[in-house]
């Protein structure tokens, strides 16, 4: 006997069926579609004349009165948790020994710079100025070019939404060094810079360390992690990604 299999069109109907039942994300739909498809094909093994529609409604009845709602709810929650864990894992991967050594080296260079410069505040302002220019250029020009992904018409990916929300975090996080002004008591009042901590080697060291840690974290957040997650998305969902 010839086994009846689902056609491409019927598979597409299953995706639409998921959407009609409130499951909008492709990464959640995929598995439900495969499950429905398996169950329908099994029904056809017993009765290959059963219509697609009848087979589908009989299979969907098996999901109980809540249908997809509970699966969808838990899945979206767990997917978000999974992506969050994945991001933390990439952060740990990034901060291996070479990066730790790099942090120490840059901290010491900045520390020496602070100690040797005639005016620490000016040095600090120049450094943060350079940082902001580089960061802004990167985030507004290079980042969108590198990490924008377009999906096929009408498709939504939970993982991509999460990925795009990370960009917002980078903006927010990227502006944090402004707070170092406050933390270190550098106040710009009446165009006069004051730095109560100046003179103490410890405060210079702490400041140098914080600036370094910050800079390196930004590199992780704005380059390494997005690159890794973009790879994950392309590897898993290449069939719905346009560019």
């Amino acid at each position: 006997m010839n086994e009846r299999k689902l056609t491409e069109e019927e598979i597409n109907d299953l995706f639409t069926f998921c959407e009609l039942h409130g499951v909008y994300y492709y990464d959640v739909q995929v598995e439900l579609v495969d499950h429905l498809a398996c169950a329908i094909e099994e029904k056809w093994e017993d009765n290959s004349f059963l219509s697609f529609k009848d087979a589908l409604s009989s299979v969907f009845r098996g999901f109980g009165i809540y249908g997809f709602s509970k699966i969808k709810q838990v899945k979206e929650k767990e997917l978000k948790r999974k992506y969050f864990i994945l991001r933390n894992q990439y952060i740990r991967e990034f901060f291996q020994l070479p990066k730790i050594i790099l942090t120490i080296v840059i901290t010491l260079i900045l520390f020496l710079l602070f100690r040797l410069s005639a005016d620490k505040v000016i040095t600090y302002l120049i450094l943060t100025g350079i940082y902001f220019v580089v960061l802004s250029a990167y985030l507004f020009v290079f980042y969108p070019k590198r990490y924008n992904m377009r999906l096929k018409e009408k498709k939504k990916l939970l993982m991509l939404d999460y990925f795009n929300s990370m960009k917002g975090n980078i903006y927010v996080y990227g502006m944090l060094p402004l707070n170092l002004f406050t933390i270190f008591g550098i106040s710009i009042t009446r165009f006069k810079f004051q730095m109560p901590f100046s003179g103490s080697a410890i405060s210079d060291l702490v400041l140098a360390f914080l600036m370094t840690l910050f800079g390196i974290s930004m590199v992780a957040m704005a380059t390494y992690i997005p690159a890794r997650i973009k790879n994950d998305i392309i590897r898993q969902y290449s069939q719905i990604i346009l560019s």
Partner: protein, 112 residues
Amino acid sequence: MGSNQLYKGSLATIILKLLEEKGRMYGYQITQEVKAISAGEFVITEGALYPMLHKLEADGMLTVETEMIGNRMRKYYSITHDGKKEVVDRMAEMEAFIRHMQTLLNPNIELA
């Protein structure tokens, strides 16, 4: 049958153990396999299986790989190193539980 209620609490253990023995499996296959092994006694509903699979995946007990099967994509689950350790713990817990239930509900067995 009310017995499904008893199985419910052991769903994660059943899934992990199954994947440890069979290697990688996909969702529908797991429901069919459990039905077959338990001779229809225990039926995992989709509503229970997929949330559990995703929870275990997020916890790092399972990993997922996707593959195109004909004209559709399929997600295969397999057990991780952490998952295997979890199986050992959960099986020991389960055996202790069964022993305790036996003593509690039928103390005579102990005497025999």
